[in-house]
């Protein structure tokens, strides 16, 4: 059910071992309409990671999220409007009670070790959620191949990859 594109195979090929990682982060909604709790981050890992899919522990069509990676910083959501519109959670993450409780990213995302994803949530204006858990399904990339290109994968490596 996950997407394995050529880009992802190029990354996987730079590591000898790929280990399952499931990372759950509490969102911290307090049930207040339209609240924006402090941004939450994925847990830092000591290995490089590929994030493949996400799911949430609640069902709320009116809750939103804005995601960016930290180190390096890439915005996932278009944000060049004067008032950027955040993205409904259901467009990114599966819902626990639905047919697809984990929803795959169309392009798994690579994060270097000690890197993180930042998620800024906004609660529903009409039917706010209390609590809430966000879960990432990922692969830990261990035992990197070390050669003239470096160790494992890096963002710059694709320029020289054949």
């Amino acid at each position: 059910m996950f997407f394995f594109t050529k880009y992802i195979y190029q990354i996987l090929d730079r590591y000898r071992t790929h280990l399952e990682l499931i990372d759950t982060i509490p969102i911290g909604f307090t049930g207040v309409a339209s609240e924006r709790p402090a941004a939450v981050f994925t847990n830092e890992q000591s290995e490089d990671l590929l994030y493949f899919a996400a799911g949430v522990s609640f069902s709320n069509a009116g809750a939103f999220v804005r995601i960016r990676s930290i180190s390096p910083q890439y915005e996932w959501m278009a944000d060049d409007s004067a008032i950027p519109q955040d993205t409904p959670i259901n467009a990114i993450a599966g819902v626990f009670s639905q047919a697809l409780p984990i929803l795959p990213l169309v392009q798994p995302f690579f994060v270097k070790k000690q890197g993180r994803l930042q998620m800024q949530f906004t609660n529903s204006a009409a039917a706010p959620t209390t609590g809430g858990l966000w879960t990432w399904r990922a692969l830990r990339l261990t035992n990197p191949i070390i050669d003239a290109r470096g160790s494992g994968w890096d963002y710059s490596l694709g320029f020289n990859y054949s």
Binding site: Y7, S69, Y74, A78, T87, P88, Q98, V106, Q107
Partner: protein, 338 residues
């Protein structure tokens, strides 16, 4: 017809004809992959837009996306619907969408009787089994260009007020190499070199029925009980790979009888032996947003050659009620080189 299309008669270059569901294949289409191969950094991308379509009359509401910093491949779409007074979302199928790339002026929806497709033919609907659906082909949106979205009510009946939060889902393609320019030509798996932009999402929507004499206004479509009608898509100016099909007759139209009583037959007018030999319930051919495959795939994409057109014979077998505001949508890939 160019050499690419000749080859496609034998092999349709859509990978394993990637289906409508978000998880239906672990790969992208060969076209999308060939474009992405030019970029060493690929980042998920979501572009979300809020619109409250005009629910009083059928005057379009226009939303224009903002230019993006990077080139983007748009692979699918999702929509959240916030309704007023109608929590069942039963009227989702009554709001239509047309998407046009402003740089090229090419629309995604075929300009036929309606010229719009229900937005659930583009996007999965939030809490349904498939919250994101794929476009029939990924759309390459060059950096600093825009999409225009036109929203319109497809019926003249009263509808609730809706706010639709529409999200394009795709991948940002990043290449910081000095002097890099987006690819203009790519090589497909069969060795053919084609222009970027020569495979575009295509939607063809046909009303289920006709506009009656008393209601000759946009959106007044109906098929009375016991009646049959034939509707056509316009002759295509390019060949089209038709992949899958969506209908709103179960979720948007006003039809108070079993949907299996609505039957239809699809015909390629230049190859009349193709497709359904007899009338088939719409539920066996068309999907809707409440199902795992909102755009129900054909067994294999059908190549509608340039100049051909599609006819759909529709029949209402109900003895009691007419079908109002129903539409059927074919989805595919438009093959043109501009």
């Amino acid at each position: 017809m160019n050499s690419n299309e000749t080859t496609r008669l034998h092999r349709i270059e859509t990978g394993d004809w990637v289906g409508s569901a978000w998880r239906s294949s672990p790969k992208w289409t060969p076209y999308a992959q060939a474009i992405a191969d030019h970029y060493p950094i690929q980042v998920p991308w979501y572009s979300t837009h809020t619109v409250t379509p005009n629910n009083v009359n059928s005057i379009p509401t226009v939303v224009v996306t903002r230019p993006n910093l990077y080139d983007v491949l748009i692979v699918g779409a999702s929509a959240a619907v916030i309704s007023v007074g109608d929590p069942t979302f039963s009227q989702i199928g009554l709001f239509g969408l047309q998407v046009t790339h402003k740089q090229t002026g090419i629309p995604w929806v075929a300009p036929n009787t309606i010229g719009f497709s229900p937005f659930a033919a583009f996007a999965g609907i939030n809490l349904n089994p498939t919250p994101i659906i794929k476009l029939p082909e990924a759309f390459f949106l060059p950096a600093r260009t825009q999409l225009k979205m036109e929203w319109v009510k497809l019926t003249d009946a009263a509808t609730s007020a809706y706010t639709i939060i529409f999200t394009f889902v795709g991948v940002q393609l990043v290449n910081h190499a000095s002097g890099f320019q987006a690819p203009e030509w790519i090589t497909m798996p069969n060795g053919n070199t084609i222009l970027v932009g020569s495979r575009l999402p295509w939607f063809g929507t046909i009303p289920f029925g006709t506009r009656n004499a008393a209601g000759r206004v946009f959106g007044a479509y109906s098929l009375n009980q016991g009646q049959q009608v034939v509707q056509f898509l316009p002759p295509s100016d390019c060949s089209v790979e038709i992949h899958d099909a969506y209908t709103n007759v179960e979720t948007g139209s006003t039809f108070g009888d079993s949907p299996i009583l609505l039957t239809m037959k699809i015909t390629d007018m230049r190859a009349v032996s193709d497709w359904t030999p007899g009338l088939t319930p719409v539920t066996a051919v068309f999907g809707n947003e409440t199902q795992v495959f909102p755009d129900l795939s054909f067994t294999k994409p059908h190549l509608l050659k340039v100049g051909h057109r599609t006819a759909i014979t529709m029949q209402n077998n109900s003895t009691a009620v007419q079908a109002l505001s129903g539409t059927v949508t074919l989805r595919g890939v438009r093959l043109c080189e501009y």
